[in-house]
Every structure is written in structure tokens, then in C-alpha cells.
Amino acid sequence: MGVAAYFRHIKEAVVTIFDGMAVTASHLIRKPYTIQYPDRIPARVQDRLPFRYRGILDVDLEICTGCLACDRACPIDCIAMAIEKNAQTREIIISQFDIDIAKCMYCGLCSEPCPTGAIHHTTEFEGADYSLESLIRRFVVEPVVAYKPKKGPEPDPAVASLLERGMKYVDQWAQPGSDKPPTPKAASSAQTATPQPAKPAANPARMPAKGAAAAAPKPSAAPARKGADGQAVTQSPPAEASVDNREATGEAANPAIDTAGVRQRDKTPAS
């Protein structure tokens, strides 16, 4: 090592350390990047997520029809449901509705066939807990009578708001890629898919699916469906069939299909 190299090393060390210290000093006065989750953020993350975010499942038991479609759709059996049917009053009594959040993989297949949007994903995603047992959400405290769609609009305002939310959820599910309110374009695509003129969200009578099917002046597709329902009593096609059907007919939320699904499921537990 020559003398020149010796002094060059010293010079390089001094200059580079000088510059390096300047770089870190400039970082010292910058605003940190850190977002201090969860308590020092301007708004809760849950409130800023889209409506269709697939978070932890929740069930609005007030509008659950007890059709068991979610139970059947779940690919990993994390939903445990038990229902009984009262032969006289033809009421369905839900005695158990447990969802094992620890098992749930947030696929959304349970909320897809739900006729009323009772089972739905919330935007909540913080599920940490101290025991595995407490991650099983038990929605039924004591057996309740399942919701039965009314003829005409829902009289109970509390239930009506739940139902409105649920149907909005289901409708958005049926229109992939739109978490915005339905636009005329969406309505026109719905028209091309099915011949019915009714715009899904615009028709308030449609909200209770089964009631709407019975009460509202149905387009030509509805009677055909009803005929199919009559056969369904004997044939009892699987619920997946109706799901596939909906997917096949496109994104339009066809109330008739929902009706068919509800009716089929009404029969299944009894048989």
C-alpha cells in the first residue's frame, strides 16, 4: 500500500462517513412512515373497507329462514346448524347456529346462496382471542323461529332494515365487480340476461324474496319457476343447482331463483 493509497483511504473514510451521517440526519427529521395501528389512525380500518369485504361472518338471525343453504355450501363444514319443523304451524325452529371462525376460510360460499342475506361477511377482521373455543360464534342462544318472508313489504321496521341490507348484500354478490349502487348499465345487462323488466334493487316488493315472488306481478319467467317448484317437492334438486343456475343466468338477481331456493329448502328438512 503506497502513501497515496493510505491517504486516499483516510479521505474516503472521512468523506463517506460525513455523507452517511448527513443522510441519516435527514431521515431523523422526516416524518416516520409508521401507521400506528390500531389506536392512532384517523379512522377505523373496518369503516373504510368496501361493503363486500369478506371479513368475519355474522348472522342476522331475525331474517334467517333456516334453509340450511349455507350449511350445505360450506366446503369445510365450519357451520353447524340444527333446525326442527313444527308440523302444525309449519314454522322452522332454529335450535343451533354455530360458526367456527377458527376454521372459516372466508370463501364466501355460504353467503352466496343465502336467500335473504342473513349470513354475511362483516368488515371485521380482528379475530384474535385467548382460546380456540371462544372463536366458535354461537348465534342461537335459545331456539328461535325462523324468518318467514311476508307477503308485501316487511311490517317490522327493524327487520325491514336488516332485510334491506341483506338483499343489498345478495344483489351485490350477484353483480360481481360492482360494489357501487346499480347503474342503468347494470340494469340493462340484467335485462339482457333475463327477460324480466324489473330492476332488482328498485323494486321494494322484491325484498322478501318469497313474498315478492308470490305477490308482485311477475314476468314470464316467474310462473315457469313456480312450476319447477311444484316438481321440486318430489325431485328435491340440490341447492347447488340453484346456485349454478344463478351463475349461469348471469349477474342479475332473479327473485324467482331465490324463491325456488327457499321453497326447496323448506321441504328438505321435513323430508
Binding site: 483516510i10 448527513a22 440526519a25 435527514s26 431523523l28 422526516r30 400506528q36
Partner: protein
């Protein structure tokens, strides 16, 4: 030397009892005890929190800010956590040495406080070989570290201990050579004597006395970094190579002792540099009561030391670890020869200018200001180029 506690106690025991001095001696002893308990031990703990916050800001993070106001009680939480942990002693370890080692390291951290010149009166023992005592005692760390490395019976620990021994002993030489210029200019080894030879004005500090002193102060600072196993010289505890070096097998409070000593030694290293080259506790003279003057001197000393401690944290946030051969080459090829040049140069300087040269002092002070200005310009350049939102508040 009437103010020295040792002198007073010595007279009280062996000479005619100086009754008028016993009150003063007791007062100084109490003040020193307060300073030790209020500064030495908490400093080593609290500085961990400060250091983590400083690194965090350097890396555009936030750092610990949850325990207490702005995370201030983080050190207490860490301490309690360590005390509550199991104290594991490996079966194959040499138990007596293993247990003894942390105490030796802590001893090397506690003993230098005896000659720490906090103010003109606040010093436990103004030994006439103060700076020599300081250097000798801080080198005691190597015994503890080597003992820990050997007794752990673990290859990582042993390599860490050996590295530490090599490093501390090597860097004692440039550190010692860098102490000489200040000693040559004052002709005393006493800490108070070294400070009294300087004045409160920055250009009368020894660092600006001549170019050799300027370089010597920088070498002393870097060498003390190396002696305290601070980054970029933290080879003995290089996580990526040696797990935790000599502290690998330690747990619980014994582990904490090593790190308390390491962080506490930052204060001591900074205090040595402040005493020798940065004017110590010197403040302008006022006709105020001695107690108030001593308090102001103490604050002055503390501020200077804390600034240097901050620089040492800042270096740790900036520079990567050097390789072992680079560390040795920095010491033996660069610092030792330059240290000798500094010593001889200062000796010649003192022969020619026994009372110092006002012109050179001013020139060196101007040079230092120019360096600081250039640095500020550089920082402004990097800040501007990044186009980032600035945030000057120390807490977030």
C-alpha cells in the same frame, strides 16, 4: 485540593481534624451519592429507550412509545421482564466464573464514576492520576468479557470474548495516545486540573488548541466507541455471526448487567472526551452562590456528554459493522501511527507555544464551524432531494 472528598476524609482520619470541613465533606458525599443513584444507574437504563427512539427515527419508524408517556417507561418494563426470567447457568459452564463475570463488567462501569468531574466541587475523588485511573478501570471490562466468554463453554461465547479482548486491548493504545496531547498541554492527570486548564469559550477548548488535538479528539471518540463494543465495532456481539457473542449463554439479570454496563460506558466515554477536549463543566463566571454555580456547571457537563452520547447513537444508526480485519487495520495502520504523530506534534507545539496560540485556536474553531455548516448544507440537500414531509417534533 481542599474540595476533594478523599483529601478531607484523609485529613479527618489521619491529620488534625478539620472541623470546618466535615460539613462540606458530608455535603459533597451526599451530593455525589445522589448523582450516582440519580444519574449513573438510571442513565444506563433510560438511554436504551432514547437509543431505540433515535434509531427508529433514523429509520423512519416510531420506536417504543406505548409504555408510559411516549414509551418512557420502556426501560422499566424491560428491566422487570429480565428480572422475572429464569437465570440459566449451563451445565457445562464454569459456574463460579460464569457468575462472577457480569459483576466485573458492572464494576468496570461503576468505578469510573469516582473521578467523574460533574462540577467544580461535585467530584467524589479528585485523584491526581484521575484520567489514568479512568483508562485503567474501563479496561477492566475486558477481564469480565473474556471471563464470560471462556466460562460459558460455548464456541460463540469464546470467539466473542476473544474478539472483545483483542479489540479492547488494541484500541486502548490509540485511546491512550489521544489522551496524551491534552495531558501534555496541562501537565496534570487530574480530571479537575484538565478542565480548569480550559475556559468556557468553545475556542479555548483543547480540541481547537491545535490541529493535532483536533485529530486526537476524533481518534479518542472512535476508540472509545470500539472499547465499548459500540457499532461499527460491535464484533464481540455480532448477532449475525456469533448469536450474542460473549453474552450468548447469559439470561435474566446477568444478561442485563452486560448491557447496562455497555450503555453506561457510553456516558463514561463521552465524559472522558468532554473532560479532555471539550471544556468539561466550564461556564462563564458569575457572582452567584456556589451551589447555583455548581448546578449550572453540572448541567453544562451533562449537556455536553448527552450530545456526544447522541452522536454515538447516530453513528450506530448510520454505519454498518466493520470486518474483524478492517477493525484491526483501522487501529494498527491508521489510529496508532496518527496517534503518535498527534502526541509528538503536540509536544513540539507546546514547546513553541507554551501558552497556546490564539490565532490557531480561532482558525481551528472557524474550521469546525465550517465543517458544521457544510454538514448542515448536506443534510438540507438530502432533505430537499427526498421531498419528504418533515417532522421536527421528537415525539410522535
Amino acid at each position: 485540593m481542599n474540595n476533594s472528598l478523599v483529601t478531607l476524609i484523609g485529613r479527618a482520619m489521619f491529620g488534625p481534624a478539620p472541623l470546618d470541613h466535615t460539613d462540606q465533606a458530608a455535603a459533597i458525599a451526599v451530593a455525589c451519592a445522589v448523582v450516582l443513584f440519580a444519574i449513573a444507574v438510571p442513565f444506563a437504563s433510560i438511554v436504551t429507550w432514547v437509543e431505540r427512539r433515535v434509531w427508529a427515527r433514523i429509520q423512519s419508524r416510531v420506536g417504543p412509545n406505548r409504555v408510559g408517556p411516549n414509551g418512557f417507561l420502556q426501560w422499566l418494563a424491560d428491566g422487570v421482564k429480565h428480572v422475572c426470567k429464569e437465570d440459566v447457568i449451563p451445565e457445562e459452564a464454569d459456574a463460579p466464573l460464569f457468575k462472577l463475570a457480569p459483576y466485573l463488567v458492572v464494576l468496570a462501569f461503576i468505578l469510573p464514576w469516582a473521578v467523574m468531574p460533574f462540577s467544580s466541587m461535585l467530584i467524589l475523588a479528585d485523584l491526581n492520576i484521575g484520567i489514568l485511573y479512568m483508562t485503567a478501570i474501563t479496561a477492566l471490562t475486558v477481564v469480565g468479557v473474556l471471563m464470560a466468554g471462556w466460562s460459558s463453554n460455548n464456541k460463540w461465547s469464546l470467539i466473542g470474548g476473544i474478539r472483545s479482548a483483542a479489540q479492547i486491548i488494541s484500541y486502548e493504545i490509540p485511546a491512550g495516545l489521544s489522551i496524551f496531547p491534552a495531558v501534555l498541554m496541562t501537565g496534570t492527570l487530574s480530571m479537575q486540573g484538565l478542565i480548569r486548564a480550559q475556559k468556557w469559550e468553545p475556542y479555548h477548548w483543547f480540541i481547537f488548541a491545535n490541529p493535532f488535538c483536533f485529530v486526537a479528539a476524533i481518534i479518542l471518540f472512535v476508540s472509545t466507541l470500539a472499547e465499548n463494543n459500540r457499532t461499527p465495532f460491535d464484533l464481540p456481539e455480532a448477532e449475525s455471526e456469533l448469536v450474542a457473542g460473549f453474552a450468548t449463554e447469559y439470561s435474566s439479570m446477568r444478561y442485563l448487567f452486560f448491557f447496562m454496563a455497555e450503555w453506561g460506558n457510553m456516558f463514561i466515554a463521552a465524559a472522558i472526551l468532554v473532560t479532555l477536549y471539550l471544556g468539561g463543566w466550564q461556564i462563564p463566571r458569575f457572582n452567584w452562590s456556589p451551589a447555583l454555580m455548581n448546578l449550572l456547571q453540572f448541567i453544562c457537563f451533562l449537556v455536553k456528554v448527552l450530545v456526544l452520547v447522541f452522536v454515538s447513537m447516530w453513528i450506530r444508526g448510520t454505519l454498518p459493522r466493520v470486518r474483524i480485519d478492517q477493525m484491526m487495520s483501522i487501529c494498527w495502520k491508521y489510529f496508532v501511527p496518527i496517534g503518535f504523530i498527534n502526541m509528538i506534534g503536540t509536544a513540539i507545539w507546546v514547546a513553541f507555544f507554551p501558552h497556546g496560540s490564539r490565532l490557531m485556536e480561532m482558525a481551528m474553531f472557524a474550521l469546525a464551524l465550517a465543517i458544521v455548516a457544510a454538514f448542515a448544507w448536506r443534510v438540507a440537500y438530502f432533505t430537499r432531494r427526498s421531498r419528504m414531509e418533515l417532522y421536527f417534533h421528537p415525539t410522535i
